[in-house]
Symmetry: C2
Subunit: 411 residues, 2 copies
């Protein structure tokens, strides 16, 4: 009998997709499912990006250079420069999505068995990349009660071992929406300098920062050899299907190493690089519009969630996610129940259970991640489904005051 | 001091790109360089494939399903069916290029330290994928004198150990152009059944088979659980920049495992899948035309190479490569010399040194790989450059009869 590999068995099924069969069954029953479970925005991909491909005159769709096309790297560097980041084209390796940038960074920075510290909750795919690259993720826990701010640096210091090679953050954060402050970034930089660690900064949501000016790890002074920016056009331009990302670092040895992994797969998608070029030429007003839209969605989501009895969430400053605490026995059970057993006006809502974003067992069991990727009307209906669902859920936990009332009634 | 990872240091610089700086310098001196070193065809990408993207009405370029879009998988299965292969959509995982299919297969089938047997010479990137996945390639040597036919099965048996998990072939072969016969494939199948091995078959060049009917490993009877087809549209449709491939297997456990790696990177490029769909609808005449063109190029290349004193090559039955033995001291030195120190009418030619295709040290040092990816006129001039270069090269080895004449002259 043939067996699949140990690492293949160890790979997690995507937490985003675990509940998909239940959503599919609901749809087959004719139920409309609102997807707040995945970061797939409904925002239009900028027509200028599509036009760059659709109007291109291409006789032979050739391999591009392994590091990415020269013209895209030049324009992308200019985009970073405008954002206050000192990036030159040679600092950029163009990748197949942000995913490949994460993969190349882990492969290039860490040996098998090495450790990378990641504040939890974190993007679930990091776990998959760690297994694929035989690297260990060591979590430090950020808490909802502190708005998912950076855990104290002493918490990082506690878990540092001789095998620790890197810190990995997502900023603005997926799933919490937290935006790390300049002070927090400087604390992490100092830690990386003190312990000789790479500082991997996943900035997929850079342009979605609602209450403050964004400050990138790439703007930190004195950490040029340490900082590795992991980036993608997926969310920024609602172009998830383009699979176009970048690994950006001033560390020349690391860049040369990552390039060897890039040569292995020859090149990133060619048409997407044309889209990427066009994206760098979008006017600033593009981001103003999308930011205004996402801000309105965030505000709606937060105010509606907070108005639901027993529900709490911090106000996220960026990205397009909210982590909320729900008054339920188990959020995964609740999410499945919403799809299997509940409808409101023949509609329901799909959420991501919180546990999939934590490495520490037992955490996140009363939390969910909600993505505000739907327009305000749809979002409103989706949140009404959630509200009605919470009220009807058999596994609902009662708030202390409710419990007291119930106990009195029983007595 | 920060260090890059051990595997990063171990990764090879692409053998195709090692000589690139010398080619770039030649170009800067105004020399025209004919590229026979890489498998980048000059054949037009079918306009219907480009039109599929350019005429598509796409509002949001979304993630596609991790396994690939349903419509592409359906049409691709039909393409395989027409080619006599019993493939259904669920057997197909759409990948970012054939490269990712190779990567997923190695990750899913082998544990770190496990061994995969590969007939050498082989596609250089296999070495990179083996290092990235911490798998060991064990070569069995095919020889030019036997036309690079499959080595005797007893040679495979000799190197099988408890760590051997798979055989990997490229058919038609890159770099040799050899097309494995049905009998050879059946021998390998029997070996895989006997020793419980996966049979990984890279069929990037399936449609380029000039002297015989193509027989795929996927057509072998009784090996459904063992065979994993690794495929790509890159060469078949001259669409290398699309980065669209596939991992195809009837082994359900393996397919489910590979899907977990696919979920890690969310999806393959979206626009390329539209191109892939259009490709499956091209008329048979498309392949007739490209085959006729490549056959003419092959015939020209082989006859011209064989007419050069001291040069020998077998007649390749498929793909678009020839491995030739040259009368030179060291083919890497010669290739570099062609770029650095030689011109003919202000032109020169770039070849791939043979050693990069062998795992066994010392082999291939008098061999080169030539890709017949240029039109007949350019190919002719490129081969004239090679002929003149061989005549002028200071490190030329003389054939026995020439040596005899020279010795007589000295005496």
């Amino acid at each position: 009998m043939l067996e699949v590999s140990q690492r293949g068995r160890a790979m997690p099924v995507s937490p985003y997709r675990k509940l998909t069969p239940f959503a599919d069954e609901a749809k087959q029953r004719g139920v409309h499912v609102y997807h707040l479970n995945i970061g797939q925005p409904d925002i239009e991909t900028p027509p200028a990006m599509m036009a760059a491909v659709q109007q291109a005159d291409i006789r032979v769709l050739e391999y591009s250079p392994s590091a990415g096309s020269v013209s895209y790297r030049q324009k992308l560097a200019a985009y970073y420069q405008r954002a206050g980041m000192n990036v030159v084209p040679d600092d950029i390796l163009v990748t197949s999505g942000g995913s490949e940038a994460i993969f190349f960074a882990m492969m290039s920075c860490l040996n098998p068995g090495d450790e990378v510290i990641v504040p939890e909750p974190f993007y679930g795919a990091y776990t998959a990349f760690a297994i694929a690259t035989t690297v260990n993720i060591v979590p430090v826990t950020s808490t909802m009660d502190e708005g998912f701010a950076l855990p104290a640096i002493s918490e990082f210091e506690k878990v540092i071992t001789p095998r620790t090679k890197a810190i990995l953050i997502c900023n603005p954060n997926n799933p919490t929406g937290y935006v790390y402050s300049r002070t927090e970034l400087e604390q992490m930089r100092d830690l990386c300098l003190r312990h000789n660690l790479y500082f991997l900064s996943d900035e997929a949501y850079r342009e979605f920062c609602y209450d403050s000016e964004y400050f990138s790890a790439f703007q930190l002074e004195g950490a040029e050899e340490h900082v590795v920016l992991l980036d993608t056009v997926s969310k920024r331009y609602s172009a998830c299907g383009a699979r176009l990302g970048a690994l950006v670092t001033k560390n020349k040895q690391l860049q040369a190493t990552a390039l060897k992994f890039a040569q292995m797969r020859v090149s990133a998608p060619g048409l997407s690089q044309l889209m990427g070029e066009a994206a760098t030429e979008l006017p600033d007003s593009y981001f103003e519009h999308t930011k205004a839209e996402y801000t309105a969605r965030r505000d709606l989501m937060v105010s509606r969630l907070r108005a639901m009895p027993g529900v709490y969430c911090p106000v996220p400053g960026g990205a397009f996610y909210v982590v909320a605490r729900l008054p339920v026995d188990d959020s995964e059970k609740f999410c499945q129940w919403l799809l299997e057993a509940f409808t409101y006006d023949n509609q329901t809502v799909m959420l991501s259970p919180g546990a999939g974003f934590y490495a520490t067992p037992g955490l996140g069991n009363d939390e969910v991640r909600l993505a505000y990727v739907l327009n305000l009307d749809d979002l409103n209906v989706a949140l009404t489904c959630l509200e009605k669902g919470l009220a009807a859920y058999p596994g609902r936990k009662h708030a202390p005051e409710e419990t007291a009332v119930l106990q009195e009634a029983k007595a």
